[in-house]
């Protein structure tokens, strides 16, 4: 009864709707469209013959207790309460051709005979247009680009259609031949094959020595070393440190005059995946990073998240010199760091007086989430102390926040919820030409290959000149579907139950990759703000490993679930290969 277009279900019309359409010409709801009234704030669409009309049921005068529906054929209004009486159904069944009605407070079509919602593309497009008509006055040829009109600024670059390139197997060129011969280490040979199979640890697991409060760096490096697209890039020799330094040397005329964090990463990958299990000291890496982020160069404990951001920037900076590539981080074409981590966030700001919405797109390499403020006493909050039992799910079956357990999904829901900005944060409305109170809503326009979620556990108050750490436990899933947080989903929920005429365009943005993600690394922080320790948990071959500086141990997944997550790394499911337990060594 319903078909899928671009992955979204498009409901088929019921027989009554089909008959109605065939009897009433190509635009059967045209007259109804004149009655669409949009009420700010929130911009809900209603159907009223006159703007001030108070609808009542034609049979029983009811106007408040149940939903009211207007018959599309004769404009008579009736109540519809499926559990009690439905004068709308009575009307529909008594006169053929009068089955289709419209919810007067939601502008949604309903078949009173089927008792079910129905959809009409043209009508829904008209409603969406009415709700966004404040945006611009330009009419477009295709008629159904209302949402595109509301975009302030141009479309993000990556929406240009990508040309598909035919597959060609790789053959090394002469330079690659040489570097392959000189610098490569066979992954499996007589000496280390036995080493690997005896310890039965997956490739690339190697402890990192603490060089003096450098666990903030070690924890992030462990996560990056096992970020699938990043690992593949470096192990696939896509950035060769020998080749690169020569280039740099030639440009600047002096040896080692330029640091390159990507080269240091390449060296790190080589060392960690060499098969050698003795702990490695990333001293060169730390030194290079100090040179890049001079203000953070010290033996003091740093913030792991700050290090992460600064590292990505460092890798990006290097390739800024390559003018051939697009520099916009949003497209992901500028460097491997952005290719892997960069997504695009959409921000909609709606004026609460006139409804005008301005939309902006910004690239982002991660999403920082606030933990919930403390729950008010509702008498029902169960203690969040059940950290060690991962029966938190069982204890708290309801997604109700009264349970007191914060979840990553809850944080994401709050992140994408429409938020009223305070009266001290009035934003300039282009239509009103004055600062007005606004409603802001974030959503994800384009998902990255790897989503990094940063939990804001460290609060710094410049007013009170103090900082504190929030220890509250946050529950995070091992598998995460990001669909509800996409712009397409958020917009859908803003406009009620509609068919969207611009589904085709939005699908390009959410691209061919799915919205399902798998967790592969968790960076945790324990202890106080000034005296704490970072540890990373890695998920390899569906086993969890604890990486505590130089010590790597296999742990049970319940330990990970109970850990205090600070940064969680999720990769697109299609890129996450759940290897079998048996690692064949031939």
């Amino acid at each position: 009864m319903s078909s899928k277009i671009n992955g979204h279900v498009s409901p088929q019309p019921c027989p009554h709707l089909l008959v109605f359409r065939s009897r009433n010409g190509p635009k059967p709801f045209r007259a109804l469209q004149d009655c669409i009234r949009v009420k700010p704030p929130g911009g809900r669409a209603a159907i009223r013959r006159e703007p001030s009309e108070v609808p009542r049921c034609g049979t029983c005068e009811e106007s408040s207790r149940s939903r009211l529906y207007a018959c599309v054929a004769c404009a008579a209004v009736f109540c519809h309460a499926p559990l009690l009486h439905s004068h709308a159904s009575d009307h529909a069944l008594s006169i053929p051709g009068h089955e289709i009605a419209v919810d007067v407070d939601r502008a949604e079509l309903f078949c009173c005979a089927c008792g079910d919602q129905v959809y009409d593309r043209d009508f829904d497009a008209a409603v969406v247009l009415a709700q966004t008509v404040n945006a611009t006055a330009t009419t477009s040829t295709s008629g159904s680009t209302a949402m595109q009109c509301s975009v302030a600024g141009s479309q993000p670059e990556n929406l240009r259609k990508r040309r598909r390139v035919d597959y060609r197997p790789w053959e090394p060129d002469s330079g690659e031949h040489i570097s392959r011969g000189n610098q490569s280490i066979p992954l499996l040979d007589a000496t280390n094959a036995s080493l690997v199979s005896s310890t039965q640890q997956p490739w690339g697991l190697r402890g990192l020595n603490n060089l003096g409060n450098s666990c903030f760096m070690n924890s992030i490096l462990q996560a990056l070393l096992h970020t699938p697209p990043l690992r593949n890039y470096f192990l696939g020799d896509r950035h060769n440190r020998y080749y690169c330094q020569q280039k740099n040397g030639a440009i600047n005329g002096t040896k080692n005059s330029r640091l390159c964090l990507a080269c240091d990463m390449d060296a790190l990958f080589s060392a960690v995946f060499s098969g050698d299990r003795t702990p490695y000291s990333p001293a060169k890496f730390l030194y290079s990073w100090w040179q890049h982020a001079a203000n953070l160069a010290s033996y003091e404990q740093q913030d792991a998240h700050e290090f992460f951001i600064s590292m990505l920037e460092g890798i990006h900076e290097k390739v800024e010199k390559d003018k051939r590539k697009s520099q916009s981080p949003g497209s992901g074409d500028c460097c491997i760091a952005h290719r892997v981590f960069s997504g695009i966030l959409r921000s909609d700001v709606m004026c609460m007086v006139c409804g005008f919405t301005s939309t902006t797109y910004d690239p982002c390499v991660d999403i920082s989430l606030d933990l919930e403020p403390n729950q008010g006493g509702s008498g029902k909050s169960s203690s969040a102390k059940s950290l060690n039992s991962f029966n938190v799910e069982a204890d708290c079956m309801r997604p109700n926040q009264n349970c007191g357990i914060s979840t990553l999904k809850g944080c994401l829901e709050r992140f994408t919820r429409a938020e009223k900005l305070g009266s001290d944060q009035k934003l300039f409305c282009q239509k009103c030409q004055v600062r007005q109170e606004s409603l802001k809503q974030m959503s994800i326009r384009k998902l990255p290959l790897v989503s990094c979620f940063h939990v804001k556990r460290f609060e710094h108050s410049s007013i009170r000149k103090m900082s504190r750490k929030v220890d509250r436990y946050l529950q995070f899933p091992f598998s995460l579907d990001m669909a509800p947080y996409l712009s397409s989903s958020i917009l859908r929920s803003r406009f009620g139950n509609r068919i969207f005429p611009f589904d085709g365009d939005e699908q390009d943005a959410s691209n061919d990759l799915s919205t399902e993600f798998e967790l592969f690394a968790v960076v945790t922080h324990s202890g106080r703000l000034d005296a704490g320790h970072y540890v990373t948990y890695l998920r390899l071959s569906n086993q969890w490993y604890k990486c505590d500086d130089a010590w790597i141990t296999q742990v049970n997944e319940s330990i990970v679930r109970a850990a205090q997550g600070y940064m969680m790394f999720y990769v697109q499911k299609v890129l996450y290969y759940k290897e079998s337990e048996n690692q064949g060594t031939s």
């Binding site: 279900v9 007259a31 009420k39 106007s63 404009a75 008792g115 079910d116 309801r398 919820r417």
Partner: protein, 113 residues
């Protein structure tokens, strides 16, 4: 055949000589002033925040999963969750109920009813 632009139906209440009840008067005043819409928005927000909406959604989802997507109508879902919604109303924090009552009270006082 009736056209959609037919003039509004005459007010049945007046024909029958019934006085509008207090409830009807309040309802009309709420609608005309726009307060009803604001209260509805407020309630929607609060019901989302306290998880009530998620409860209802979860109930609907499991029902649809059980019956099959093509075998469920909106009316079926209304039948399903209306009684449950009343039960789950107990899970709505008292502060929400108090807030709404307070808003309605203030409105009534300001509307001099």
């Amino acid at each position: 055949k009736h056209s959609v632009n037919r003039p509004p139906t005459p007010d049945g209440a007046e024909d029958q000589g019934n006085e509008p009840t207090l409830q009807e008067i309040i309802n009309i005043k709420l609608i005309e002033s726009g307060e009803k819409e604001r209260l509805m928005e407020l309630l929607r927000e609060r019901l989302i925040e306290c998880g009530w909406k998620d409860e209802m959604k979860a109930l609907c989802r499991s029902y649809v999963k059980k019956k099959g997507r093509n075998n469920v109508t909106v009316d079926d879902l209304v039948h399903l969750i209306t009684p449950k919604g009343r039960v789950y109303a107990a899970s709505v924090p008292d502060s929400v109920k108090a807030e709404l009552l307070q808003r309605i009270r203030s409105f009534l006082m300001s509307a001099a009813l």
